[in-house]
């Protein structure tokens, strides 16, 4: 027998930690989605797709700006001392992933802005002279466009990794103590982004390419989940307990049904059939992937807070 009783009952702490509600999972999901979109649009810029369509070079970065701002707004809503938010930018703390994150987000905006200016559609030209000038300057230099594409891919990858590192750096929560989490979140972000672009692009080539790429991301994500879980199960008792929270505990139903089943396996089957021309491309599979990615963040953030180092129950 091993039993602990405590007189502590701090709000949001006891009986189990619940300091982060919907805002952080939404922020992490939108951060990952934008990271994935930046990698995809960066790749398209690098490959010269901007010459054929405005979608990857103009619309995707614009959509990213909106999604990222929505994510940052969710983060802002989560802060308990909102008036002091500017403190994030008066210092840089090397050991704090959150400090890294706030500065990375500052890098993301100019990168997206540079991407939007590689080729501006006629309807948006002659509005702001400075933008026209910069756009003409970039557009006439294919090597510069390629460099912006590479920058977009790098900054996107860092952003995607950061969404996982933010959690895995918090060693007090055994479920998050995994060196796989950043790759998992980056891949999930890429997969959601591929699904998102697949869903909204009107370019057949891009749709087909991204459906194929997404199948690869989804298969890789399944492999990463296996690694993530095996890593926890082969670690200490507290890590095993944390893994069981999602495998067979209170989060298992949501994890297996919505994250693995409806978020990965079912859309993967549909998309495999679609790319092999057995069924038509429909919005069903990409929507499932996007929703699955969002639910994944909720499950990991919630179950991670529930996981703890004490083996005895309070």
């Amino acid at each position: 027998m091993h039993e602990l009783t405590t007189t502590r009952s701090n709000p949001q702490i006891d009986p189990s930690l619940h300091i982060w509600g919907w805002e952080i999972p939404v922020y992490l999901f939108l951060g990952g989605l934008v990271a994935g979109i930046m990698i995809i649009s960066g790749y398209f810029l690098f490959k010269g797709r901007y010459k054929h369509s405005y979608f990857s070079c103009f619309w995707l970065p614009h959509i990213s700006l909106v999604l990222l701002s929505a994510g940052m707004f969710a983060l802002f809503l989560d802060l308990e001392h909102k008036l002091y938010v500017w403190r994030l930018f008066t210092t840089f703390k090397v050991a704090s992933p959150m400090s890294w994150g706030s500065w990375i987000l500052i890098l993301v905006y100019p990168t997206l802005l540079a991407s939007t200016l590689t080729r501006v559609p006629p309807a948006f030209q002659n509005r702001i002279k400075l933008f026209d000038k910069v756009s003409a300057f970039i557009n006439q230099r294919p090597q510069l466009v390629k460099n912006i594409g590479v920058l977009s891919m790098i900054v996107g990858a860092i952003l995607g990794m950061y969404t996982g590192v933010l959690l895995s750096a918090l060693g007090a929560r055994p479920l998050w103590n995994s060196s796989i989490l950043w790759v998992l979140f980056l891949t999930s972000g890429l997969s959601a982004a591929a699904a998102f672009v697949h869903l909204i692009t009107d370019d057949k080539y891009e749709r087909e390419l991204l459906a194929k790429a997404d199948n690869g991301f989804l298969i890789f994500e399944l492999f990463l989940f296996a690694q993530f879980i095996i890593g926890l199960l082969s670690s200490t008792q507290v890590h095993q307990n944390a893994a069981h929270l999602i495998l067979s505990g209170p989060y298992a139903a949501v994890f297996w049904v919505f994250v693995i089943g409806m978020g990965i396996i079912v859309p993967l089957i549909i998309q495999l059939l679609a790319v092999n021309h057995k069924v038509q491309h429909t919005p069903v599979a990409p929507i499932m992937v996007i929703v699955g990615g969002l639910i994944l963040r909720f499950v990991i953030v919630d179950a991670g807070q529930f996981s703890r180092w004490t083996i005895a129950g309070f």
């Binding site: 027998m1 009783t5 702490i13 938010v85 403190r87 704090s96 180092w309």
Partner: protein
């Protein structure tokens, strides 16, 4: 520089909660919140059960994850005794420190900043003991410099069996419990 810590004799602690009340009064702790609390731990198999009663609080760890994860520097190690503190008007309430503490010793104050035990730094600066230590009716709590081999806390640790909480987490807590 001193390294302040606490030693608590679990053989003397009766779990009366005077330390909890003293902390609430001294530090104006909001209703429903605790900066210190009492834990009763029972282990073993009948009939050889053992129970330990402990007064717990922030461990003012030597390797505090709550300080390293803080993006603004609000959580910091104070020069006086390496006490771990929060500067309220630098805290944005991001709660990273709350999530990073394996002891769940922190909470968000209703005014929005991260809060926890301060070892009553305002009293320590005046040469006094923390309120919980000075009020304990069984005198089971001791406070002092762990780096001074002649301090009462160091001598107790050298002469009695003791343990800290979850040392395996690696935060190097500075509160020790005498068995």
């Amino acid at each position: 520089m001193a390294r302040l810590g606490m030693v608590i004799d679990t053989k003397k602690c009766v779990g009366c909660m005077d330390c909890v009340v003293a902390c609430k009064t001294e530090n104006n702790v909001p209703e429903g919140y605790n900066k210190d609390w009492i834990v009763q731990e029972t282990k073993g198999a009948f009939p050889t059960l053992t129970t330990e009663i402990r007064s717990e609080r922030c461990n003012h760890c030597d390797n505090p994850p709550c300080v390293s994860c803080c993006p603004t520097g609000a959580s910091h190690v104070h020069e006086l005794g390496k006490v771990v503190l929060v500067t309220k008007n630098e805290c944005i309430g991001c709660k990273a420190c709350v999530a990073s503490c394996p002891y769940d010793a922190r909470f968000i104050h209703p005014d929005g900043y991260a809060d926890k035990c301060t070892f009553c730094i305002h009293r320590v600066e005046k040469g006094l003991d923390p309120a919980c230590v000075s009020v304990c009716p069984t005198h089971c709590m001791y406070f002092g410099d762990l780096d001074d081999p002649n301090s009462q806390v160091s001598r107790l640790l050298a002469s009695r069996k003791n343990h800290s909480l979850m040392p395996e987490v690696g935060t190097q807590p500075r509160i020790f419990y005498l068995r």
